[in-house]
């Protein structure tokens, strides 16, 4: 692997930048691997990386139906935070946030993690009570989160409209200063590069068509569009298509796949210092390093695998954005798109073993999986390598729906998040 440093950049600059090599090896699938990870997004690539780096396993393949990180990794609004209410969730997301803080150094790849803070705006008395509860719960867990008055929120984010005359006036906000954004592609590419360097085979344009099982039940391999691959362990990390892939092994999941839309504006000069989220009137906004306002809209209500949704969903979000940030009213929108999110009834993920020996699943991240990329990958790798969950992801099983042990972030946030 070519290491990135000031020296290597200078050396390549002198050479006219003709000396750069591909960041990861392009390989054809071998007939057998110890572990196959299905899904070449951030979560899948990260899982392969941690399996190789932390668990010393080498004979691993990541197979991806399309191209690397072309699914939800490329389709989210890159918000990273850990201010979730319940102990189980906040420790999972905080585990991830801590990995984010050192990820660029660990991967020797600039993932452009920018801890610009995340302001969650309260518009109703219920919001105020709920967010203050989040602040207290987080602080008891050693996670930074603080309550700001409307005036303090405006000081932190000057474009915010705190006029009492808007339809849902800003009553205050919670602020997690360690929250931030990262460059989505870089995360996947950084993991791919580091995993490939450790011997992981990354195979693109290779769709899973079936899961092979022994008569005794355990998995023995997968059928793909590029031939059969024998393996004793399969880690499925395919977000919106989790029901489809696990359906091949006869497993039903508590998931519903919905389109989630996002959009970006034309690029403008730096005008927005932080991330602002409003759950109540449903708007998420931050500014990318390119200058675009990155705006997250809501989910469409129906099951769909189309990666698009109705225009009324982003239109609703833009109405909220224009009310909260009147200076953006003349901003033109450049692109919009959808991703397929896999939503669980309690809006918490599943990172667990399945009922089939050798088959593992990391899914249910719904509308908030990007922030969890390194954390989920790290704990999913642990679960696969040791055939048992890490204490942090132990509560995030499929069986919690049978046993009634929900981690109900849906009720805690009252909206998709």
């Amino acid at each position: 692997m070519q290491k990135f440093s000031a020296l290597s950049l200078a050396r390549q600059a002198i050479g006219g930048h003709l000396g750069w090599k591909p960041q990861w090896r392009s390989v054809a699938p071998k007939p057998a691997y110890d572990i196959v990870i299905v899904g070449g997004g951030g979560h899948g690539l990260g899982t392969a990386y941690y399996l190789a780096r932390q668990h010393g396993l080498r004979n691993i393949a990541v197979i991806e139906r399309g191209w690397l990180a072309g699914g939800n990794t490329a389709r989210n609004t890159t918000i990273i935070r850990s201010n979730y209410l319940f102990d189980e969730s906040s420790s999972y997301y905080e585990h991830s946030l801590k990995l984010w803080e050192n990820l660029s150094q660990e991967l020797n790849y600039n993932v452009m993690f920018s801890q610009r803070g995340c302001l969650m705006v309260a518009h109703t008395v219920h919001d105020v009570q709920s967010f203050k509860r989040h602040v207290h719960a987080n602080r008891l867990n050693g996670i930074d989160n603080e309550w700001l008055t409307a005036e303090e929120a405006k000081e932190f984010c000057p474009p915010l409209n705190i006029s009492p005359n808007i339809r849902y006036p800003v009553l205050g906000a919670s602020l997690q200063r360690r929250a931030g954004t990262a460059r989505h592609d870089a995360v996947a590419w950084g993991f791919a590069r580091a995993a490939s360097d450790l011997g992981v085979d990354i195979i693109e344009n290779c769709e899973v068509t079936g899961i092979m099982r022994a008569p005794t039940g355990e998995v023995t391999g997968i059928n793909t569009t590029r031939g059969d691959i024998r393996t004793g362990k399969i880690g499925v990390s395919v977000a919106g298509h989790s029901s489809v892939v696990l359906g091949m092994a006869g497993i039903r999941l508590p998931l519903q796949s919905n389109p989630l839309q996002a959009l970006v504006s034309e690029p403008v000069k730096p005008a927005f210092p932080t991330i602002v989220m409003s759950n109540t009137i449903h708007a998420y906004i931050s500014q990318s390093d390119k200058g675009e306002m990155v705006i997250g809209a809501g989910t469409d209500s129906y099951v769909s695998y189309t990666q698009r949704g109705g225009l009324h969903i982003p239109a609703h979000t833009l109405e909220a954005i224009c009310e909260l940030f009147p200076m953006f009213r003349r901003l033109r929108m450049l692109r919009s798109w959808g991703g397929i999110t896999d939503n669980t009834p309690d809006r918490s993920p599943i990172t667990a073993k399945t009922s089939i020996p050798g088959l593992y699943v990391n899914c249910g991240w719904g509308t908030g999986g990007f922030k969890a990329t390194p954390g989920a990958a790290n704990l999913f790798a642990w679960t696969i390598a040791r055939n048992e969950p890490h204490p942090i992801n132990a509560p995030f099983t499929i069986e919690r729906f049978r046993d009634g042990v929900m981690i109900d972030e849906a009720a805690a946030a009252a909206v998709a998040h």
């Binding site: 298509h241 029901s243 489809v244 359906g247 039903r252 999941l253 508590p254 998931l255 519903q256 796949s257 209500s301 129906y302 099951v303 769909s304 695998y305 189309t306 109705g310 225009l311 009324h312 009834p345 729906f401 049978r402 046993d403």
Partner: protein
């Protein structure tokens, strides 16, 4: 935005409707008699199909009535809508191919 045919009111825009999830999920007649596993299957586990889905819609800003629809989740094209209480219709391959187009 989807154009959805209410069996009672005709074609209306999606914003008049509320989606109510997968159709033909039958509540166990005696919840106390089923296992936790069966109860979880009824409450939470879903087919979530990539292809034809039978789903419930409610014309909440119209007649207010529930009805069922068959739609292809790869294209969001509807095959048909039908009244509550009817069994899931069998879709011929021609109509299914049209919806998948």
């Amino acid at each position: 935005m989807l154009l959805i045919r209410c069996p009672y009111c005709g074609d209306r825009a999606e914003i008049e409707y509320a989606n109510a999830g997968e159709a033909h999920i039958v509540r166990p007649a005696d919840p106390m008699a089923v296992s936790d596993e069966e109860w979880a299957q009824y409450l939470y586990m879903r087919d979530n199909p990539k292809g034809l889905i039978a789903e419930r819609w409610r014309h909440s800003h119209g007649c207010g009535r529930f009805f069922n629809a068959i739609r292809d989740t790869r294209t969001d094209r509807f095959v048909m809508t039908y009244e509550m209480g009817q069994p899931r219709p069998t879709i011929d391959s021609e109509a299914a191919a049209e919806a998948a187009r």
